[in-house]
């Protein structure tokens, strides 16, 4: 498994553990209300589990498993791949930070942070398309 996949998958596992912990607190709070403010972390729960976990895991595994570009094992631009990992984690961090600041009563900052998170996600989606498109080549079998 290449280094980029290892970093992406491990980061995805961290998002999974944190996102599920928030989810468990939300569910428990539904049954035994102990902290009404915790509902403001619902968007953080969704960002961490949909983007931080699911999308990042899919990227890490796809980078590892999809066909390579050459017989030498070239998987495409490492710079672009690291930017994708940075964009995914940066986007989720900004979105979660926006939630936390909103929880602390900030009015001015959450909006721009959410916009920045959205820009990160948009950049990641374009970069993923650019990176993976050439790797989706059909396998040519030798003619008998």
């Amino acid at each position: 498994m290449p280094a980029i996949s290892r970093y992406a998958i491990r980061a995805a596992l961290v998002h999974l553990a944190l996102g599920v912990t928030i989810g468990a607190l939300l569910l428990a709070n539904k049954a035994l209300p102990f902290a009404p403010w915790i509902w403001s972390l619902l968007p953080a729960h969704i960002h961490m589990l949909l983007i931080g976990w699911t999308v990042q895991l899919a990227f890490g595994v796809a980078f590892w498993i999809l066909p390579r570009l050459s017989a030498e094992g070239d998987r495409g631009s490492p710079v672009l791949s690291w930017l994708i990992v940075a964009g995914l984690n940066g986007g989720v961090t900004l979105a979660v930070l926006a939630d936390l600041l909103r929880l602390l009563g900030s009015i001015a900052l959450p909006g721009p942070l959410e916009l920045a998170a959205f820009v990160c996600y948009g950049g990641v989606s374009l970069a993923c398309a650019r990176h993976f498109w050439p790797r989706l080549a059909a396998i040519t079998l030798p003619s008998s």
Binding site: M1, R10, A17, G23, L27, A31
Partner: protein, 149 residues
């Protein structure tokens, strides 16, 4: 495919079918205007799809495909992933049964069952993360290197 992966993936398929039955029930309840039943089932529907199906399918495939640790215990301590399997499915079942009940007929039993469901699912996920973490590794580091003298 190892036995654990088969259990995870087959159970994921069962949750997928159940999720669409719950989804159908939501649509029917809306069409028939059965009050709050559709709303009570909505979070269960999402979680059956995302936890029961998607997450569990990912777990099954990861346990199968991720690099092995060595020849003696290729998939690490399988007790952790079996415990995760039991916790995840028991927690999800409790959630599916008692979360709608909590909204429709609140009571102590439903409340504590939902808290237990939350705890079981969280512990199951942490166990899975601990179990799979060492298997996120490169091919060369999977087996000890032979010293060339």
């Amino acid at each position: 495919m190892p036995t654990q992966s088969r259990w995870y993936i087959r159970t994921a398929l069962i949750w997928l079918v159940l999720a669409f039955i719950v989804g159908g029930a939501i649509l029917i309840s809306r069409a028939q205007q059965w009050g709050s039943i559709g709303g009570a089932l909505q979070p269960v529907f999402y979680h059956l799809l995302m936890v029961g199906w998607t997450f569990q399918l990912i777990c099954g495939v990861a346990l199968w495909l991720f690099p092995v640790l060595g020849k003696e215990r290729p998939r690490g301590d399988e007790r952790l992933t079996w415990a995760a399997y039991v916790g995840l499915n028991l927690g999800l079942l409790l959630r599916a049964l008692f979360e709608p009940l909590l909204l429709l007929m609140p009571g102590a039993l439903a409340s504590w069952a939902v808290v237990l469901a939350a705890l079981l699912q969280a512990i199951a996920v942490w166990l899975f993360v601990v179990a799979i973490w060492p298997r996120v590794r490169g091919k060369r580091s999977a087996l000890p290197q032979r010293r060339i003298s």
